[in-house]
């Protein structure tokens, strides 16, 4: 574990950028330098940043598909179970078995949407490792502006390619300002 002379653990080498465009260009440089454990921070999602960072598509959509299928299946069980098997309810002399399925579509649709939405909601929280109490990046006092108008890039010390010299040089070359070491604790 890398430590500073004062004995703090090093979390990352970080820099601030003046604009979204500058951050976008810097991300491409860091990506091409072959780093894997790094991230950019911005007050809003920047269009095209996923490609600039070399990230693929988010597979959150697969979780949502699973949620939707679960919802559809749940609705089928909730509807067919009681009205076909547990207590056949004959209303207006109409069928109560599988032939009644068109009348079950609305609830099937609703539960498909409901379960998909829950899946999407919990998936984005869990896949992002949230909720969490704190994060080392918050130890950097300039970082408060990341939710206002600041654009930041941090290369983490646990990246196998990380050396203090190389990271600092790379951030300088990419136009970073206020380059600093962020402590782990």
């Amino acid at each position: 574990m890398m430590r500073t002379p004062s004995g703090h653990k090093v979390y990352a080498m970080a820099a601030e950028y003046p604009s979204a465009a500058a951050l976008y260009e810097a991300a491409k440089i860091v990506r091409d330098a072959g780093f894997k454990r790094w991230d950019v921070y911005s007050p809003f999602p920047i269009h095209g940043m996923d490609e600039a960072m070399g990230l693929g598509k988010s597979w959150l959509s697969a979780v949502v598909l699973g949620g939707g299928i679960t919802g559809l299946f749940t609705a089928a069980v909730v509807e067919f179970g009681p009205s076909w098997i547990i207590y056949p309810l004959i209303v207006h002399g109409k069928p109560y078995d599988w032939r009644t399925v068109p009348a079950f579509f609305p609830i099937m649709f609703e539960l498909t949407v409901l379960f998909s939405a829950f899946a999407a909601f919990f998936a984005w929280i869990i896949m992002n490792g949230l909720p969490r109490w704190n994060h080392p990046i918050f130890n950097w006092e300039r970082f408060g502006r990341a939710s206002n108008d600041g654009f930041f890039l941090a290369i983490e010390a646990r990246d196998p390619r990380f050396t203090e010299m190389e990271a600092r040089e790379l951030l300088e070359r990419s136009g970073g300002e206020h380059i600093t070491i962020v402590h782990e604790d």
Binding site: P45, H47, L55, F104, P106, E110, A123, A146
Partner: protein, 487 residues
């Protein structure tokens, strides 16, 4: 040589800038505001101490809400006979209010979901408040089906559970579909709204000045830090929630309309109802969004964020959906005549000349059809007083429309010996007024404690949010912008 080579450039530049001045898109955020101005202005509303008008208004609306809650208590403890309901009118103000409120919610979901999928960037200035309005409107709506069952403690019969004889509810009933549709709609709207709020709660957390605020905003912000690895999943979730909400919002009012359309009552038993109800819901909802946002914009000086362009676009949507609704009104009359069915024909004759005649002439004809015609003219869409007047007409008109459909259909059906007349009691009236108190109180609390404009979303529409934006483009832009702002 130099002059010869530069001269054409200058001419071309001038030509392009003059064409640009005429054709250039008006920016969605005026006066070249930057990211931090947006944060300051929007978060500032929450961070300043509550102004005096807020306390006065909140006191009034909370008092009105109190009257409403008293009426609910009185109705529950005394019985459903405190309302004017009787044979043959078994549904009146209660279900009218339910359909009215649930319809208002639809505009919020249209703005947050459908306009998102259609890449309408102007939605970012109004989506947060419109979604909040959706939640509060659905809360007000949910009161009515709950209490109109009479014995409220039996409302659990609405749930998919067997009763004490082991009989399950009928899943083929539109009333059952309605329970699932409305509860799903509310839940998904809450999830979508909260997802959008998280980055803004992080902003408030980072700006918090006291430990308590930092703790509370910190809890609800979930530790959000704006990292792109997080934004990636977040954006996918947001897109999917928008995609799920889009058919959902269309389904909710369709299912509400099934409550009527699957019955045999003349004027109810029509296939036109689902699209007719959905269009009416969006129509009435946009009027309510403007009713709330125009005063909020004036009070908090948000004119650079909610610009005349935004008001203009919303007015156009009101005109569009109002035209759908007017078409449906006309088609109902045509089909009643063309069907040759004497009960249908009589019901529509009764609608315009029967005992509730003025509800139709004022509510449907004037408020819903004639008043929005003003929005064909640009001067009216650009005049906030005219816009406000039309929105008030639509708010009232949509309530009248639901009343005409419900009571107008019930009070004179097939058998003249079973005809009747509905008169509202003071409990009917004050329960409804009370829901306005609940709605406005909740909205006032919302603008007090949460950012009413989605900061993380509205920042994306600024030109400098584009990763390919460069300072040279800024210079060019400011030259082109030197002309008169077309707003």
């Amino acid at each position: 040589m130099d002059s010869a080579s530069t001269a054409p450039d200058v001419i071309e530049d001038e030509a392009s800038s003059s064409v640009e001045q005429r054709l250039r898109r008006v920016p969605l955020i005026l006066n070249k505001r930057n990211f931090s101005w947006l944060t300051e202005r929007i978060a500032g509303v929450v961070e300043q101490p509550a102004p005096r008008w807020w306390w006065v208004t909140f006191f009034i609306t909370a008092t009105i809400a109190g009257f409403g809650l008293f009426c609910l208590g009185y109705q529950i403890s005394t019985g459903v006979g405190t309302w004017g309901l009787n044979h043959p009118v078994g549904w009146a103000w209660d279900i009218t209010n339910f359909v009215f409120w649930i319809g208002i919610g639809h505009a919020g979901t249209l703005i947050s979901a459908i306009l998102f999928l259609l890449r309408q960037k102007w939605r970012t200035s109004i989506n947060r408040a419109a979604e909040a309005m959706t939640l509060f409107a659905v809360m007000c709506a949910a009161i009515f089906p709950g209490i109109h069952v009479g014995r409220v403690w039996m409302a659990w019969f609405l749930a998919p559970l067997p009763n004490n004889y082991g009989i399950w509810p009928n899943f083929r009933s539109p009333l059952m579909w309605d329970v699932f549709a409305v509860s799903t709609y509310f839940t998904v709207s809450v999830l979508f709204w909260y997802t959008g709020l998280v980055p803004d709660l992080a902003t408030l957390r980072d700006r918090a000045t006291t430990k308590v605020k930092k703790f509370l905003f910190g809890i609800f912000a979930l530790g959000w830090r704006g990292s792109n690895r997080n934004w990636r999943h977040y954006e996918m979730a947001y897109l999917l929630l928008a995609g799920l909400s889009t058919p959902l919002v269309l389904s909710v009012h369709s299912v509400v309309s099934f409550d009527f359309a699957t019955s045999v009552i003349p004027t109810w038993h029509t296939t036109i109802f689902p699209p007719y109800f959905v269009a009416g819901a969006i129509f009435g909802g946009f009027a309510m969004v403007l009713t709330l946002m125009l005063p909020a914009r004036a009070i908090f000086k948000l004119h650079d964020i909610i610009t005349p362009q935004h008001v203009d676009k919303m007015a156009k949507i009101i005109l569009l959906t109002g035209s759908f609704v007017s078409y449906a009104y006309a088609m109902e009359f045509f089909v009643a005549w063309y069907s040759g069915n004497q009960y249908e024909k009589f019901a529509f004759y009764n609608r315009i000349l029967g005992p509730y005649w003025w509800y139709w002439w004022v509510g449907m004809l004037f408020c819903n059809f004639l008043a929005p015609q003003l929005f064909w003219f640009k001067w009216s869409r650009r005049n906030v007083y005219v816009v406000y007047f039309v929105c008030m007409c639509v708010n009232a008109g949509m309530w009248f429309e639901r009343f005409i459909i419900i009571v107008g259909g019930l009070h004179r059906d097939f058998l003249p010996s079973s005809w009747g007349f509905f008169t509202a009691t003071w409990v009917d009236v004050w329960t409804f007024i009370g829901t306005f108190g609940i709605f406005t109180s909740l909205f006032l609390l919302f603008i007090r404690f949460l950012p009413m404009i989605a900061m993380s979303e509205v920042k994306i529409v600024l030109p400098e949010a584009d990763p390919h934006y460069h300072a040279s483009a800024l210079d060019h832009h400011s030259v082109a912008a030197g002309g008169k702002e077309r707003t």
